[in-house]
């Protein structure tokens, strides 16, 4: 019988530029240990392990097999998923399906990355078609900058508008003990930072981070006993369209996959007025401009009105619909973990365990993932069991 699932425990490392003190398995183990502690569990309680990262960042083939010492998958069903930047959210979705299907009762989901171990852009380049895309591509920075260029061209948004998003996220991050970058920035500092690819400056862009995150999904019937407030999965949606980055329609800079995923998710969860009904969003927002464009693509406001939403403070902590109270991806980006951190942070919000970054009265929360060829994953979590 298909059944409901919920996140009952989370754990993450204190994310840093370079974790030279741990190898890959050890960083995984840190997150796993913290997660099990959070749920008052031991590894023996876990029925299956789902793990992911983005392969070419660490250059390890068959990571599920390699990770045993760190993930605790010894003599357990263990499986690996990787979809680039969306890996973490793809993992979060998988954890849900593995439990909801009846296959397992308690699943440990792990996302990790040691971005310090390679050239991030170079590794990202290998994701793209070697014949058409790779000769010119310059990683995520290039792929994202062109969307910002299109958006600015159509709607007149400015680097200052984008900088306001960075300022918000970096301020939020100061309240998150796990965040990588925990120092506020000003609009001026963002605008003055070195230009990476027009119009995106260094402080508009996410950092490279070493970090890991783990969550435990449990089946209904069990989840209620395992923690006082499970974060129930209300719905999931993915759109991984496009095999070539040049198939994307960049006009206006919109993220087509996010529009489609949001439409499906809202339909599934019955959300009609996202701005009103959603209480908090952890958005996989890899650069500041996305915090303008993708609020529109998520249907929080009309096209072109993203800047107004942000300048009005709607998306700040304390506002009507806080986005990235954790500091988001602009403050921490351990790529394979990042999408899962969005789910973990949303779970903490629902559980009321988000400390200084807690949003009051969270009933419905959304976590998104971004990556690959302009792909989107979306998950909706709620305080109460879904219908």
């Amino acid at each position: 019988m298909a059944r409901r699932s919920a996140i009952v425990a989370t754990g993450q490392t204190h994310h840093r530029s370079i974790r030279r003190d741990v190898n890959g398995q050890e960083i995984i183990n840190e997150a796993v240990t913290r997660c099990l502690e959070d749920g008052d569990l031991t590894i023996n309680d876990i029925d299956a392990v789902v793990i992911g990262n983005m392969d070419h960042f660490e250059g390890i083939n068959y990571v599920d097999c390699w990770s045993v010492d760190g993930c605790g998958g010894f003599m357990k069903p263990t499986i690996k998923l990787t979809t680039g930047g969306t890996t973490g959210s793809t993992l979060a979705i998988a954890g849900h399906h593995l439990v909801a299907s009846g296959a397992f009762e308690k699943v440990l989901v792990i996302g990790w990355e040691k971005n310090s171990e390679s050239d991030t852009t170079g590794a990202i380049n290998t994701a793209f078609c070697p014949i058409w895309d790779r000769p010119f591509f310059a990683g995520a920075i290039a792929g994202l900058s062109v969307t910002a260029q299109s958006y600015a061209d159509r709607f007149g948004a400015t680097p200052k508008d984008a900088a306001r998003v960075a300022v918000r996220d970096r301020r939020h991050a100061c309240l998150n003990p796990y965040a990588h970058l925990r120092k506020e920035v000003t609009i001026e500092e963002v605008l003055a930072s070195p230009m990476l690819a027009d119009p995106v400056c260094l402080l508009d862009m996410c950092p490279r981070t070493d970090g890991a995150c783990a969550v435990v999904y449990a089946a209904e019937g069990l989840a209620e006993k395992m923690c006082p407030q499970p974060a129930w999965v209300h719905g999931v949606a993915s759109r991984h369209m496009f095999s070539y980055v040049s198939d994307a329609d960049f006009a206006g800079g919109s993220l087509f996959s996010m529009e489609r995923a949001a439409q499906e998710l809202y339909k599934k969860t019955g959300i009609k007025e996202p701005l009103k009904e959603i209480d908090v969003i952890e958005m996989y927002q890899p650069f500041s401009w996305a915090g303008l464009i993708w609020t529109e693509d998520m249907g929080l406001c009309k096209k072109g009105e993203g800047p107004k939403l942000v300048w009005d403070g709607v998306t700040d902590l304390g506002g009507e619909l806080p986005i990235n109270p954790s500091g988001g991806v602009v403050s921490t980006n351990c790529i394979g973990a990042t999408g899962l951190i969005r789910a973990a942070e949303v779970a903490l919000q629902i559980q009321g365990k988000a400390g200084e970054r807690q949003v009051p009265d969270v009933n419905l929360a959304i976590a998104t993932g971004f990556g690959g060829c302009l792909w989107t994953d979306m998950l909706a979590y709620g305080k109460n069991k879904p219908e």
Partner: protein, 168 residues
């Protein structure tokens, strides 16, 4: 971090007993990618005839460049070859200013360079390539560009040197 700062940081970490293993040439993995039937037609036309071809979906009519077998949205096989170009409209672009390691060569990619998505006339998808940045102020979305073909062509996207602005 400069190379000097980097190596002194490494020395510090080594003193703390935190070592690393460096893998570069050993990590090299040579590949012989198959371009496939459709892509091969595109490269062949570029190499031999300095022209662009796309493929049209029989269901939605969309013209794909570079051509491929299946129209994703319609999930049908495409057969009809269509000549497109030679000119293109700039759909979006950026100027890459940060250095990074090119996985094809293992060396740093020289920057800055102009990186554009061009909609070749008659096609419905985009084509990535370089453009010159000697005068950045001239580059705007919507302007017409044309390809500069190399004398010696090998059947690769590099048979085009770059796209340059058509100045009427």
């Amino acid at each position: 971090m400069s190379p000097e700062e980097k190596s002194s940081k490494e020395q510090e970490l080594q003193k703390e007993g935190l070592l690393t293993i460096h893998s570069a040439k050993e990590a090299e993995q040579p590949f012989l990618y198959s371009v496939g039937r459709y892509g091969s037609r595109f490269l062949e036309e570029m190499q031999k005839n300095k022209r662009f071809v796309g493929v049209r979906c029989p269901k939605c009519g969309k013209v794909y460049v570079p051509p491929r077998e299946v129209c994703g949205p319609c999930f049908v096989k495409m057969e009809e070859e269509v000549e497109v170009g030679p000119r293109a409209t700039l759909d979006t672009f950026t100027i890459i200013r940060f250095p990074y390691i090119d996985p094809e060569t293992g060396d740093l990619r020289p920057v800055p360079f102009g990186y554009g998505f061009f909609k070749i006339d008659g096609s419905d998808t985009l084509f990535q390539h370089y453009f010159p940045i000697d005068d950045e102020s001239k580059i705007k979305i919507g302007l017409k560009f044309e390809p500069i073909w190399r004398e010696e062509r090998t059947g690769s996207v590099r048979d085009i040197e770059q796209f340059v602005l058509v100045e009427e």
